[in-house]
């Protein structure tokens, strides 16, 4: 008998039929996440420098005054987050419900309605709702919710549907209740996709909230609108830059949350 041995030196256990896979990469995601806030900070600094050094006309100064400016930003953020909270409160449970076997048949109808909300031109949606419900903050938030619900709803559903059905069956087969499988298997595994939907919705909201000005909802849209109507480029560009910076910042926050909340082991 020929015996061939002693060529390999890998340590081995009883399970030597298998090679070890490489350990997971660590910290790689954080470096990519550092670029965006740097750009945002640079943008903010540039804006502040411009604002402090440039000489403004009286009309411009009224809109770009520090207090007014801070108020506009605050209003804008308030609109965005109020709408986002309501979107989450409605779209996530609805998305979960629509993936349950008993309610699955309503899925096409609900997705259809959500699609209309998003497909309708945002400005049309705002104005139509305003003629119906009156101008102001409340109507603005409702319009924003209608507009941003779809990505969250759809990603919640896609995320849950994307969970390998065999895992759900394995969970049930072990004696986990349907609710336990949802909470401990389906939702954790759907989190990355769901959060991507939330981030998309937030960015949409920051942009769309500029339209609030047309129905007296406030926000940074006021700056832009005034800038256009009065041909004051400083207002127009100032408002646009601030909205862009806000959107970038919000997007970055979303990415950070996604990075932190992504379940380990995926």
């Amino acid at each position: 008998m020929t015996v061939d041995t002693g060529r390999s030196q890998a340590p081995s256990t009883a399970a030597e039929d298998e090679r070890d896979t490489a350990p997971p990469r660590k910290g790689g995601g954080w470096r990519a996440l550092a670029v965006q806030p740097t750009l945002v900070v640079l943008g903010v600094v540039a804006f502040l420098v411009w604002r402090s050094t440039t000489t403004l006309s009286e009309t411009e100064a009224r809109q770009l005054g520090w207090t007014v400016l801070a108020n506009s930003v605050r209003e804008h953020l308030y609109l965005t987050f109020a709408a986002a909270v309501i979107v989450l409160a409605i779209a996530v449970p609805l998305g979960i419900a629509l993936t349950r076997a008993r309610l699955r048949r309503f899925t096409p109808a609900v997705i259809g309605v959500a699609n209309v909300g998003q497909a309708a031109p945002a400005i049309g949606l705002f104005v139509l709702l305003a003629t119906w419900l009156g101008f102001g903050f409340r109507t603005t938030v409702i319009a924003l919710v209608l507009y941003a619900a779809l990505p969250v709803l759809r990603n919640t559903m896609v995320g849950i549907q994307g969970v390998d059905n065999r895992l759900v069956e394995a969970g049930r087969g072990m004696g986990m209740s349907a609710f336990a499988v949802l909470m401990r298997v389906e939702l954790p595994l759907a989190v990355p996709v769901m959060l991507a939907g939330v981030r998309t919705a937030l960015v949409l909201l920051v942009g769309t909230a500029t339209l609030a000005t047309f129905i007296s909802g406030g926000g940074l849209g006021v700056l832009i609108n005034t800038g256009i109507t009065l041909s004051l480029n400083s207002l127009l560009i100032g408002g646009a830059v601030l909205v862009a910076l806000l959107a970038l910042a919000v997007d970055w926050l979303g990415r950070v949350v996604e990075h932190v909340a992504r379940p380990k082991g995926l």
Binding site: M1, D4, L167, M174
Partner: protein, 397 residues
């Protein structure tokens, strides 16, 4: 085509079965039926079946014959349309399915591990659902990882993604055994791994079953697997009609009809090789050495015994390599290197497996391990040739 080698039936296999300790309970099906709306024929048609406690019963049959449906009705993942299911003497047909399933281990292909939980969390799921206290769960996880041959210190905190297919499957088995259920359902568990790994996993399952004596119901489409693992085999036809329910030996020797004979396949003479276990044939004793022994002394011992190689064992008595004497003489002390190509078979393996292993390693023999991976001896190709010779003579008589 008939086989007459029934003589092998009364071998040490039979003794092994009776000597085994039993922790399982029997399963009885009475008229179990599954109808799907809109389908003319029932998927499972009034099946009566009795599965004895502590035995491994294999469900085989073509795809779509209803064997998986029948299995899933045992833990009520599929709700039967009619009939009764008993665990032991207890009618479980009306019991709360979640409670029932915690008493029935369930293993699926690729283990079905939850990717966002560590190995330990996966295994500990059912015990925690049963409100075991923390220390008991931890201890159980350690015990089970040891049982399936994974070092707890290494694997406990890993995520499934960091395991190979075979390791995932082992963890899947450990998870199913976590709450020590009397019954284990396995749904084509080894379907997705390569042949060598599958053979090892089968050997492991045989070893575990020898230790535990659960009642195992195992669905497979691979008849060789059924012959190797099963105490009994159920051959199903469409509608989960039981065509034959018998020991592998009896089915091979005397297929109930054309259908079974077809399913068993033409190579039945060689399939008899799958019936003979490595522990049934003469193993060669072998000179062993521990890592770090002086080679001069080891070589002298081997020469005295007439061996031209030795098997090196690690600290836990597991074989890690088998250097030839000339190879050994080149170094002063026995090296601790692990030969990954070392052909190893479990003592519950079939001669078929042993032959496969030797061919895969291009070697004329294989090291045989018994309980807890300790060395049992060496099986050589000549022994297997003799066994083939014997079955062929038996077949032609």
């Amino acid at each position: 085509m008939s086989e007459t080698t029934v003589s092998q039936q009364s071998g040490p296999i039979g003794e092994g079965v009776t000597a085994r300790q039993v922790s399982g309970v029997s399963i009885r099906l009475a008229g179990v039926t599954k109808r799907y709306p809109g389908q003319p024929a029932p998927a499972v048609d009034a099946v009566d079946l009795e599965i004895p406690a502590g035995e491994t019963v294999m469900f085989v049959g073509p795809s779509g014959c209803g064997k998986t449906t029948l299995l899933k009705m045992l833990n009520r993942l599929i709700e039967p349309s009619g009939g009764k299911i008993f665990l032991g003497d207890e009618d479980v047909t009306g019991q709360d399915p979640d409670q029932l399933r915690r008493r029935i281990g369930y293993v699926i292909q690729a283990g079905g591990l939850f990717p966002h939980m560590t190995v330990a969390a996966n295994i500990g799921l059912v015990p925690r659902m049963l409100k075991w206290d923390k220390e008991r769960v931890t201890a159980r996880i350690e015990e089970l990882l040891e049982l399936v041959g994974l070092d707890p210190a290494v694997y406990r905190d890993r995520y499934p993604r960091e395991l190979s297919g075979g390791q995932q499957q082992r963890v899947g088995v450990a998870r199913a055994l976590a709450a020590d259920p009397p019954v284990l359902l396995m749904d084509e568990p080894f379907g997705a791994v390569d042949p060598i790994t599958r053979q090892r996993l089968q050997d492991e399952l045989l070893r575990i079953q020898e230790e535990l004596g659960k009642t195992i119901v195992f669905v497979t489409h691979d008849f060789d697997e059924a012959v190797k693992l099963g105490d009994k085999i159920v051959v199903f036809d469409v509608g989960a009609r039981v065509v034959q329910y018998d020991t592998p030996e009896a089915i091979l020797a005397d297929p109930a009809d054309e259908y079974v004979a077809d399913f068993v396949g033409a190579g039945a003479a060689l399939k008899q090789l799958s019936l003979t276990r490595v522990h049934d044939v003469q193993l060669r004793p072998v000179t062993t050495a521990s890592v770090g022994d002086a080679t001069a002394e080891v070589v002298a011992r081997a020469r005295a015994a007439g061996d031209d190689y030795v098997v090196v064992l690690d600290r836990r008595g597991r074989p890690i390599s088998w250097p030839s004497l000339p190879e050994l003489e080149r170094v002063p002390a026995v090296p601790g290197t692990v030969d990954e190509k070392l052909p190893v078979v479990g003592h519950g393996s079939t001669l078929n497996d042993a032959l496969d292993t030797m061919l895969a390693a291009s070697q004329g023999g294989a090291v045989v391990i018994g309980r807890r991976d300790s060395l049992a001896g060496v099986v050589v190709i000549e022994t297997i040739m003799e066994a083939i010779q014997r079955t062929r003579q038996g077949a032609s008589e």
